[in-house]
């Protein structure tokens, strides 16, 4: 018995000492001192296995990881992939578990930061010089001490910057008499009406619960056309007092409702999932589709040369353009074993020539990084050329917004999607849509989710 106590006692002592010694290196760094040391680690010379969680259906991270290992053979990957929906629910468990990921796709951030599950990247930002990059790139990945986004410490990095707008079927466009992309909202409306008159489906969209309501895309574009983008971003970033239920947003929602009532969307929209909508659009159903450049590779495959892209037009001619643009967000676990190597990977993705080429070719998006680095050109005839050019315009106009679906962990599943579905089913109007979502938003913020 006494020997037992001695053994246990010394074990405890060792643990205590080890704990003290290790306190500075891996714990959650929320709330540590304001002066963060700049660090620019490398992956070292010993073999490293990066523990990563990617999303299914998107090739880019996989291709990037392969290229990284080619350039740094000592670094190999243990990649687990899962559906986006599953990742949303699994991420807190993964980060707080015994084997926290070095790199993980992040659907939402704020609650994870509040629980101290994500590594604070300020040190790396200073060391690698990320804070000299265009500020808009990193803004969406910052979380302040009060839990609002858009400013504060950096907790995630984007592998690229996506852009959302309107894809169009060139053949159907010619039939409807569209010679160039519409420059104003009114011209867009006219094109929709012309398509409808000709018996062509004006807009293909997905609105099934399983994929989340795709109507949120046109809704947000209309909001940005009718009013400034700052209030929308404030609401998404959970700034105190922000509301989505504003007069200009209400006008936008009414506009969307007119489109729904005019039959511009498929009648079975509420049953169409994301993958089906894309398949149908590629099959020639729908003149327009609101989507993002992450689909470029798939559109090029199915509609090579027959698909085009334009930014959603502003209300008045010549007014500034706006679009949803957000980083492909990845985070590093607060207790990750290979945090430094993961940070190095982030830096490599944005600055390495080969990585940037892969980003454009496979991801279809802007690789980000320092403004001084040229964006690799897209393949000839690919719609990526159009989206990259458009992205530059949005950046210049400072018109980038995050997605309204991202404002809280469940606002999409419990707010936007059901209410937009009700609008399609003629059970909800514009005013009700916004007030219900705002109420749900407030309820969730009060609950602390």
């Amino acid at each position: 018995m006494r020997r037992h106590i001695a053994v246990v006692g010394s074990a405890l002592l060792v643990a205590l000492l080890a704990g003290c010694a290790g306190a500075g290196s891996g714990g959650p760094q929320q709330g540590t001192s304001a002066t963060t040391k700049p660090e620019a680690p490398t992956c070292g010379t010993d073999p490293v296995v990066l523990n990563a969680h990617f999303e299914t259906g998107f090739d880019l991270p996989f291709k990037l990881s392969e290229e990284f290992t080619k350039q740094y053979p000592k670094v190999t990957w243990d990649i687990k992939q899962d559906q986006f929906q599953n990742l949303i629910s699994a991420t807190p468990r993964l980060l707080s578990g015994d084997n926290p990921p070095d790199l993980i796709r992040l659907p939402t951030m704020v609650s994870l930061v509040k629980d101290g599950l994500l590594k604070n990247l300020d040190g790396y930002a200073a060391g690698f010089g990320w804070d000299t990059w265009p500020a808009a790139q990193l803004a969406q990945n910052r979380v302040a001490a009060d839990g609002t986004r858009g400013s504060g410490s950096l907790y995630a990095m984007g592998l690229n910057s996506s852009l959302t707008g309107v894809f169009y079927n060139k053949q159907l466009a010619a039939q409807v008499g569209m010679t160039q992309p519409p420059a104003t909202l009114a011209e867009f409306d006219a094109l929709l009406a012309a398509a409808k008159a000709k018996g062509t489906l004006p807009v293909m969209v997905w609105n099934a619960s399983a994929s989340g309501g795709g109507l949120a895309f046109p809704l947000q574009q209309l909001m940005a056309a009718y009013g400034p983008t700052q209030p929308i971003n404030d609401w998404i970033f959970q700034k105190p007092g922000a509301t989505i239920d504003t007069p200009s947003n209400r006008t936008a929602a009414e506009h969307l409702q007119r489109w729904i009532k005019a039959g511009y969307f498929p009648t079975d929209a509420n049953a169409i999932q994301y993958t089906d909508a894309n398949a149908r659009f590629r099959g020639g159903e729908g003149l327009f589709m609101f989507n993002g450049d992450w689909e470029n590779a798939n559109y090029d495959k199915g509609m090579a040369g027959k698909v085009g892209f334009f930014l959603f037009p502003p209300k008045d001619a010549g007014a500034s353009v706006a679009a949803m643009s957000s980083p492909l967000t990845y985070g590093i676990g607060a207790k990750a074993k290979n945090a430094g190597c993961a940070a190095f990977f982030f830096n490599w993705v944005a600055t390495n020539e080969q990585a940037r080429k892969i980003n454009v070719a496979v991801g279809g998006s802007n690789p980000g990084g320092p403004a001084s680095l040229a964006i690799p050109p897209a393949a000839a005839g690919s719609v990526t050329g159009e989206t990259l050019a458009a992205g530059a315009k949005v950046a210049a106009a400072n018109g980038a917004m995050d997605f309204i679906a991202n404002s809280t962990g469940s606002i999409f599943a419990k707010g936007w999607t059901p209410e937009l579905q009700k609008m399609v089913g003629n059970k909800q109007d514009a005013a009700g849509l916004l007030s219900t979502v705002q109420a749900e938003y407030k309820r969730e913020l009060e609950q602390g989710s």
Partner: protein, 272 residues
């Protein structure tokens, strides 16, 4: 019974069978369409793409999933069978004191929805350190199969005539010999059909696999079926091919053993 009644009845049955089978046919024909298309309804393609099945296996990593699911079934079913048979024997035949209460306790478990226990199960397993291993699914499944298993075996044992046991006791058999040498062989139909049912249910587990195992390649085939939908962002025929492949093992097992299952169900009721 008139001819008309006979034909009407047969027609009804044929209709019902057709309705039951149609969905399977639809998925099958869709799986044969060229990758990336969107076929409508039942529509035999001009050029059947049998290669889709091969593609589905590769893309969905089905070899790994097959191994994973098989491991789970092999780990769960024999153990669960032994446990349930022993308990059913004790409750149904030995009639130990408290048998009634025990049965009620087990049967209560039949009414529990999985959602009711999945969250604490997650945290429990984390403490036990078995999360994300295949045991994360195996151990709870054994526990979750106890209600139905005990109920099923008890129903069998309760209906066995007593003279067999009495004769064996008179001959000096102890309880274990009674169980192992006499009653288990007698109970073979009930045990084998229970085993088949448990195998099918293990194979088809979805929610447990989804929540308790992080790595999709360590889940069951059915558990990874949800992930199929995300990966095949553009390919519906492949999705259907994958679905068919996941269904195939259970269908084959069922067709091979359906006589057993149904016979056991009948046996249980006839004796009652």
């Amino acid at each position: 019974m008139s001819r008309a009644e006979h034909y009407a009845g047969a027609a009804l049955l044929l209709t019902m069978m057709a309705v039951t089978v149609l969905p399977f046919l639809s998925i099958f024909t869709t799986a044969l369409h060229p990758s990336g298309t969107l076929p409508r309804g039942i529509d035999w393609p001009a050029h059947p793409q049998w290669g889709n099945f091969v593609d589905a296996v590769q893309v969905a990593n089905m070899g790994v999933l097959l191994r994973s699911s098989t491991f789970i079934v092999v780990a769960v079913v024999p153990v669960a069978l032994v446990l349930a048979t022993m308990a059913g024997f004790a409750i149904g035949l030995l009639r130990i004191p408290g048998a009634r209460l025990l049965l009620l306790l087990f049967v209560f478990g039949l009414t529990l929805p999985f959602e009711g226990i999945i969250t604490p199960l997650y945290f429990l397993e984390r403490e036990m350190g078995i999360l994300n291993t295949r045991f994360a699914i195996v151990l709870p499944l054994i526990g979750l199969f106890m209600p139905f298993g005990v109920f099923w075996m008890r129903a069998h044992f309760a209906n066995v005539p007593h003279d067999i046991s009495e004769a064996a006791r008179v001959d000096g058999a102890n309880t274990w010999t009674l169980f192992w040498r006499i009653h288990v062989p007698l109970a073979r139909p009930a045990i084998s059909s229970l085993g088949v049912l448990m195998a099918v249910w293990s194979w088809n587990q979805f929610l447990l696999a989804l929540v308790l195992v992080e790595d999709p390649s360590r889940r069951t085939m059915a558990g990874a079926l949800g992930a199929f939908q995300g990966h095949y962002a553009t390919d519906i025929p492949l999705l259907c091919a994958g679905t068919m492949l996941i269904l195939l093992p259970t269908l084959l097992v069922y067709v091979a053993f359906q006589r057993h299952i149904i016979a056991a169900l009948l046996q249980g009721s006839v004796k009652g």
